[in-house]
């Protein structure tokens, strides 16, 4: 039996992505800069993407005449969406900046109940 440190498996990847997602959440929660929040979101997205690929690699059984592809496909779409999201988000940030002359999200509380 090999040592678990040598036997890189799904668990190792999941540990890394968990750390990553925690960093992303922490970033989102602690940054007042709208772009910082965007960066946090990117971290979370990346963690999810790595998870999908890792699962695709380790856990998806090859039942259809070849190695699995679904996780990879999903990740590809994520990357596309992340790009789109970043574009929209930046547009919003710019708009916001134009209105408030700041990127401090805490100033945007006009929805306060």
């Amino acid at each position: 039996m090999t040592h678990p440190a040598l036997d890189i498996g799904l668990t190792h990847y999941l540990l890394v992505t968990t750390t990553l997602v925690a960093a992303g959440i922490a970033t989102i929660l602690t940054k007042r800069n709208a772009i910082g929040i965007l960066i946090g979101v990117e971290l979370v997205l990346n963690a999810a993407a790595i998870n999908l690929v890792a699962y695709n690699h380790f856990a998806w059984s090859a039942g259809k005449g070849g190695p699995a592809i679904e996780g990879v496909m999903f990740t590809a779409f994520i990357i596309v969406l992340a790009a789109a999201e970043a574009a929209v988000a930046l547009a919003i940030v710019l708009n916001y900046y134009n209105n408030f002359s700041s990127v401090d999200v805490d100033q945007a509380d006009s929805l306060s109940g």
């Binding site: 959440i25 946090g40 059984s61 699995a68 990879v72 990740t75």
Partner: protein, 227 residues
Amino acid sequence: MAISCTQPWWSARSPIGFLDPSRERHYSLALIGLDPIHPLQHKAAPVPTLAQLMTADPAQQGAPLLFYACATLTCLSAWAIVFSQNIVRMSVYLLLTLMGAAGFYLMLQAEFLAAVQLIVYAGGTLILIVFGIMLTNKNPEMQLRATPMELGLGALVGVGLAALLILALVHTPTPGQGFTAVPADYQQVRAIGRSLLSENLVPFELAAVLLLVVMVGAAYMARRRAG
């Protein structure tokens, strides 16, 4: 299914109980139908040497050491984002994180994705962010500090969630041995292309439309209003 139990739920539940590796557990296995091997039961194995770490791993591309290097890079830069107060540095750390992720894709035999990651993400999205920074920040060194309360809460939630997930993970026997060896003639890019044009055609087209909408919308929203 062992979830059903005859005892009342409060009895025989020591809080230390789930730290005891010798205790047989069925829960997650029952949920995903796998063999109950506790990860901590591996500790009898010998401590790995550096040579072993540098030897290629059959389960993935590259040696374990490579994995650890990528993991260190990714995690450290990701947490550096959290602790950084400078938005420009944050974006640089994000770049490092994205590169680490690309490394993982490589190791996971998703070379195409690794390339896309570097081109689209690092090359596109990140640049977009840097543009945003430049456009919104007359003083790039400006810092917006969160209050200690917010910092504490954020760290608590982030770390707490991570700790919980890790806890669950450690106690979840993972399908480590379940991957299928990739045939030598396997071309992933071909498979992706096929998939995009067959099974994933609709998402593909939708993504295209989405990108169009985003382009138009972003341009519209970001326009400088007259007056």
